[in-house]
Structure formats: C-alpha cells, structure tokens
Amino acid sequence: MAFDATNEISDDALMVLYANGDEQAAHLLASRHVSRVLALAYRMLNDRTEADDVAQDAMLRLWKIAPKWRQGEAKVSTWLYRVASNLCTDRLRKRRGTGLDDVPEVEDDAPSVEADIMARDRATALRNALQQLPERQRLAVTLRHIEELANPEIAEIMGISVEAVESLTARGKRGLAEILSDQKSKIGLAT
C-alpha cells in the first residue's frame, strides 16, 4: 500500500485490506479511531484505566469482525462508538452492582498557567457534572456536544430515534447547566 495515498483510503477499504492480511491497514484504522473511542469511554466512565480497556476491547471486536465486514452498511466510526458505548454501559452496570458507582472526583494538580488552569478546571467540572447525569443523557450530550456528531448518527449509535436523541440532549444540557451553575464561583466564572 502506498503510504502517501493512505488518507484517501476509506475505512471500508481498510477493513478489506486488514482482512486480507495488510498490517498497515490496522495501523491506519487505529490511528483514525482509537483516540475518539478512548475519549468517549473516558467521558462515560471517568476512569482512565477502564477507558483504555474499553478502547482496546472495542478495537479487538473491530479486528474480529473485519472478515465479515459489509461495506457501505455502517460507518466504522459509528460501529465503534456503538460498541464502545455498550461496553461502557456494561461497566457502569457492574459498578452499580458492586457499589462502585461513587467515582472519585477527577483532580488535576499539574502546574500550568492561569488560563490553562481555568480551562482544565472547567473540563474537570464538566466531566464530574456528566457523571451525575443518567447514562443515556451523558452519552447523548457527549456525542452531540463534545464529539460533535450529527443527531442521526447518534440515533444510530444509541439505537433510538432522532427525536429521542434531541430530547436526551436537551434534558442533559438542562441538567448540566443546573449542576455547573452551582459551581460558577469555584471555577472562576462570572455570573
């Protein structure tokens, strides 16, 4: 495979190449998708180790399905988001079952300039606020407002209608606004 043409190769084509034994295709698929899957898992679980596990597991499932991949049926990214969100849901259910739902608040003590600290504080506050939302709202808000996916794609990932996605994101945003408005002073925002 010519390296300079790699950006033009579709994910579907890479899946075929991978299934036919091309190792470079696996590198390209991983470089395109792992960061997104990891980010989603981290925002859903708020635990880096678990997020790494979910990302690895989701990618392993992609490798396994490659020989049976049907081109044009689903986008690789959509398929991966769906698998990752299901894996996160499974882990969140297990946490509830074992009383581990009280995830410790994320703290970031790395030194930084003031603006960075404020941005980090906001990101941390948002992540903590997301954990307080119901799972479906958390997933919908993350996919819509952080991953910036379109509502139809989110609907496909979550297996619900577009209207249901709109409803979940609206409720999620209301919930986040309420939680975060209580923390304005802590995170350096003027009212």
Partner: protein
C-alpha cells in the same frame, strides 16, 4: 433576572470547548496492545482454507446418472412406464381403438365397399 437561552448555551459551550481540548492522549502502551491484538486476530493467509467450488449434492447425484440429459430421459421413461402400467393391458387399448373405427365405418355406410371376400 433569569439568564436567556443564549446565555445558558454560551455558558455550557465554554465547558464543552474546554473538555474538547482536554481529550485524553492515547498512550503508547494502549496503541501497542491494540496493534498486537490486530496481529493476533489477523488470520495468516496460509491458515485460510481454500474454498472448494465443487458440485453440490444434487449435481453429484445427476452426474452419477450420466448428467442431467440422461437423468431427464430416464425420468421421462419412468413416467411413461407408470402411465402405461395404469391401463389394464396393451391389447385392450388396441381392441378399443379398432371397435371405435368399426363403428365409424358402419355409420358412414362404408362397411360393404371393401369386402375382403370379393377381392
């Protein structure tokens, strides 16, 4: 005074923007583990069994009888044989036909025209 919807959205957007820029970085350990999985899951070409494009079971049966043409001829013969087997006998069939022909000759007044004894 309550904040407007735009103010609420702008307030949340600051958080979303901050979170977007704080996405976790994929560690080398994770990417190596994922690529190792990819190698393991990837079947070597030598391990893939070649597909056998041979005839299916019905084609094999037809071939055993000499191909579809021979099988079709055989099936036709069997059908004819069964059909004939349902009639009482071959001579009865022939006799019936002759009797019908005789009745037609009588009705047309042709019975005396070709008397064998006069020939």
């Amino acid at each position: 005074m309550k904040p407007s919807q735009n103010e609420k959205d702008a307030f949340l957007n600051d958080f979303f923007d901050a979170e977007k820029s704080a996405s976790p970085i994929v560690g080398d350990e994770l990417i190596n583990a994922i690529l190792d999985d990819a190698k393991t899951a990837q079947l070597p070409k030598s391990a893939i069994a070649p597909t056998i494009d041979g005839p299916n079971i019905w084609e094999q049966i037809a071939n055993a009888f000499g191909g579809w043409r021979v099988a079709a001829a055989l099936a036709t013969c069997v059908c004819m044989g069964v059909g004939l087997g349902y009639t009482s006998s071959i001579s009865e069939v022939i006799g019936t036909d002759y009797a019908v022909a005789g009745e037609e000759e009588f009705e047309l007044g042709l019975s005396g025209l070709f008397d064998v004894a006069e020939l």
